[in-house]
Point group: C2
Chain length 362, copies 2
């Protein structure tokens, strides 16, 4: 109760991308100063922050100076090196904490955590050798997905295996790294829940959005998701359970596969992201408190804000050249444009997003 | 149509206070860079802006350098010196424009403008001498309010006259400046409308909020206002007429007195503010598009956003020591805290505000 961080305090953020930018904007609206730490000279987040440190994530001298100037440290990407997080946490509170980060960074540890807590996942096996892989393919069957345990995002570091004979090719393809084989889940759709927990232990989940990907990159999130009402509550409860069991502090994205035919486990956890998440951008315009404000509230141990959805909403990412359409998109009714002020619209690069609202169907 | 300012452009803002801060945050969310010009070394707005120029408003060398670096210029306070605005407008678009600013800066010009457009105001008279004042008091009657024509805000530069014999004292009190005498309007309440106009001529008004002042400073704005439904539309239409007749570009606050007993003119315009306005802060949490985003849309000639109110709302200013209550306020349900990150909570100083939402009564 008494460790609430007061407005005027300084929030340190590792990472200078669009998520850092939107976190910094939310923090500033609440009266905080922000301090961005990232290696890049120019970054979307640094543009809106009061303080900037340019440094490598392995540079403990710069990291220590940064930590000395802030009151709490958070991050906008889950691939913060474990050593960096551990070092910083000896100096200032790092939220979400080192343990939660370690779980989310390793697909195997994450899956084992889910299993230990009775949460359904795809069938999976630990893969350290080609022998492990061929055995696992026999056990789990095909099709299956081989994924590196670490540093995967937006479809990177993973490959689909359609037949046992493709094992060696797949093993080469992911670079013979410590990996996990996941059985194919015949899902109808992907949904995701953003859940927040503060260090007081309060929990607050937003209702699930339904995600559609293009080229392995999130394309749209639609809320409400096209799932039965009881599953909305189930998804939110599972997300809250994960956050509570991890002693998580901050906001977390939980992705689920929806398997309508599966009576006992119609929702299967795909993965978690220990940060604000692209699939939660709809909250910026459809809720009083966005995922960005909620994350800042959580890491400052403020009471969490309401998660009620005030409108129906479709969030659409603007990837690469999509952004040239900004002028057309703007003319749709009830459309909010969120842009990251990145200089170059490279293919596959997230440049911005729009939220299109319609009155909430009752 | 074609002069829409693209995301990535740079928006120059004169003034470093909380209104500039919230404008800069809204602009950044839409992908703009911001550039604050103000005399202060440290300011709430500069903290969140990508670029800062510290300079006097009369320093044409610095102003010219600033203008050269931005694509459009706006301001957060109406007392921008006319000469500054005129100088800048020879270099870059200044929005709202010089003519609108000149009208809003002079209470007499403003009242004459309203009269010329058939918009009801309090009875008033131009006062240049003590003789003018005594004559006007005979014509208009008492009580009446003597106001300087320029540079009044939050009750400053004005004095109430209860009897003809107090004329000389009042004249001394306001410093014998060019002034206006306004007859007393027996109003039941003050309401205000925020209206936006872009250079394409599109108009969008928010519905009126009801304002309560304490010590001449806005205390709360409650929406919906406690007025009959037809008056909501009337107030919005008057505000739109003013914006259109002024060829206004940006957002404008229009304050009205509500006089329930007056059949022909139940709404009397008190004054206009050529900028985002404290009485529009409720839009941040109760609407998809806030007055700050709307202002940026308008000055960039974007399509204006929806002004639909999604919730009922009470905005409360945190003045001086009120801010010490932040911790308690946060615990109210559906409360958003907006803080300006000012170092010292001096008496009368606006430190932040809260918006408390309740579901919209149908």
């Amino acid at each position: 109760m008494t460790d609430r961080l007061a407005p005027g305090s300084r929030i340190g953020i590792l990472g200078g991308g669009q998520l850092g930018r939107m976190l910094a904007l939310a923090a500033a609206e609440m009266g905080f100063s922000t301090h961005i730490y990232c290696p890049e000279e120019m970054s979307p987040a640094a543009e809106v922050a009061a303080h900037i440190t340019r440094g490598a994530y392995e540079d403990e001298t710069e990291l220590a100076k940064f930590a000395a100037q802030v009151d709490v440290i958070t991050y906008e990407f889950e691939n913060v090196p474990a050593k960096t997080a551990e070092f910083l946490s000896t100096l200032k509170p790092v939220r979400p904490g080192v343990a939660a980060l370690a779980t989310a960074q390793d697909r195997l540890v994450e899956k084992n955590f889910m299993r230990a807590n009775g949460i359904a996942t795809a069938p999976y096996a630990q893969i350290d050798t080609l022998g492990d892989l061929t055995q696992a393919l026999r056990d789990i069957g095909t099709p299956a997905i081989l994924k590196t345990r670490r540093f995967g995002y937006d479809g990177k570091g993973q490959t689909k295996i359609d037949a046992l004979g493709d094992a060696e090719k797949a093993w080469q393809e992911i670079g013979q790294q410590p990996a996990i084989l996941e059985g194919f889940v015949p899902f109808a759709r992907e949904i995701s829940v953003l859940v927040a927990r503060n260090s007081n232990g309060d929990l607050a989940a937003y209702e699930p959005g339904e995600n559609v990907h293009l080229n392995h990159i999130l394309h749209t999130t639609t809320v409400p998701a096209n799932i039965e009402a009881p599953l909305v509550a189930t998804a939110m409860a599972i997300a809250e359970k994960i956050a509570a069991q991890l002693n998580y502090v901050g906001i977390m994205g939980v992705e689920f596969f929806h398997v309508p035919g599966n009576e006992t486990t119609p929702l299967v956890v795909n993965e978690i992201a220990p940060r604000v998440h692209n699939s939660g951008h709809w909250t910026q315009d459809a809720c009083q408190v966005s995922q960005f404000e909620q994350h800042i509230r959580a890491i400052c141990n403020w009471p969490l804000g309401p998660t009620t959805r005030l409108s129906d909403v479709v969030m659409t990412n603007l990837i690469g050249d999509d952004v040239d359409e900004w002028d057309v998109l703007l003319s749709s009714p009830n459309t909010s444009l969120h842009m990251y002020n990145k200089a170059q619209a490279r293919p596959g690069r997230k440049m911005g997003h729009i939220n299109q609202l319609t009155p909430r169907a009752l």
